[in-house]
Symmetry: C2
Subunit: 221 residues, 2 copies
């Protein structure tokens, strides 16, 4: 049986690798959308399997560590947080696939150009994924808090984009199917940001023992 600390370090590095895969999936799905790149969109969809397999691998590793080493207190909290965070990452991977699917659907429709900045939302969401995972691995509560702030920004952008899309649909009803697809993309990005927020909240609980889940959630509504 290997040393606990060594296996824990390996688990952390696997979670960072998983987060890298998920960030890349988000980036590629949005790039596929903006550059109308069908192959890129398909690569996100075919890559989902890898993320799914990695989720199971990490889940098994964390459960094995719990079973074999029966860690106490802080390591225990870390492992249960890892199980939840892994789950959040896998769902973000699913959302990147949803974006890629909407991108493919938009490529079949006449192009529309509403004044909306999806890449900006995507950059924010990717940065939230990266920061929430870094905050977890480094147990950095300040970094975790920065994710909560970014989430408010994403929510504001999402509202503004929705309003713009509704105006666009009313002005040009022929573009409604495309605008519905774009709404779906923005919503998926918002949900990715929400998953990062969940991770950041888990980190704050882990590091500071404070439960911010209520407050953060009250703020979001």
């Amino acid at each position: 049986m290997r040393h606990f600390e060594e296996e824990l370090a390996e688990l952390k590095s696997k979670l960072l690798e998983m987060s890298g895969l998920v960030e890349s999936a988000i980036f590629r799905s949005v790039t596929a959308l903006t550059t109308l790149d069908r192959e890129l969109a398909k690569s996100v969809i075919s890559n989902e399997e890898k993320i799914n397999l990695m989720e199971i691998e990490i889940d098994d590793a964390a459960t094995r560590l719990l079973a074999l080493h029966q860690p106490m207190a802080s390591d225990l909290r870390f492992l249960t947080a890892a199980i939840k965070i892994n789950n959040d990452l896998e769902r973000m991977g699913d959302l990147a696939v949803k974006i890629a699917e909407r991108a493919l659907s938009l490529m079949e429709q006449p192009p529309v150009k509403p004044e909306i900045d999806i890449p900006q939302v995507a950059r924010l969401a990717e940065s939230m994924v990266r920061r929430s995972l870094d905050a977890f691995v480094k147990r950095d509560s300040e970094l975790a808090r920065s994710v909560l702030t970014a989430d408010d920004e994403v929510d504001d952008l999402r509202s503004a984009i929705y309003e713009e899309l509704i105006r666009n649909m009313q002005a040009e009803p022929a573009t409604i199917p495309q605008c519905v697809n774009l709404m779906s993309v923005v919503r998926s990005l918002e949900r990715i940001a929400d998953h990062s927020t969940n991770i950041a909240e888990d980190v704050l609980y882990l590091v500071e023992g404070i439960d911010v889940r209520h407050h953060a959630e009250t703020k979001r509504h």
Copy 2:
């Protein structure tokens, strides 16, 4: 220190209580929408705090059981599944709040009557929540599988409703803001169904040791 089995039974009963709160929140949010009942919608929003507190209570209880009793194999899997399922239930509670918020927003707008059957989707989603939790507590894989089947039904209904709403928006652009709200409600119900599916997949893994997560997800896309 109380007996492990006793504490485990208490944890199960808390999870069932939590699932009851969540089912009730879903039911009330949709009833508020269909009967235009402002007070009912507000009660869903004010009740969210209770669900959030319960999530923390269950999370703490499961982690304490892991720490104090250091269970092996099957009980360990059960407890890590309980932590994930608890998380899914809390997010379903958030989604019921989102539905209640959309209901309140629709009450401020001129009424629209597209031919869509939101209560049917809601009934299916509630039944999935109940069955997935029952399957977990009873370790009943057949019941868990019935949840996966119901999820496909929800996805089909969601697609049909989306198409109807898009037709409605194109025919009457003035109703676009209302239709966007209705889309949001249906999407929230679909996400509630997805969370139940996650629970059912965890149950199948717990009971049969088979990982159905890939296949079920591949099917959904």
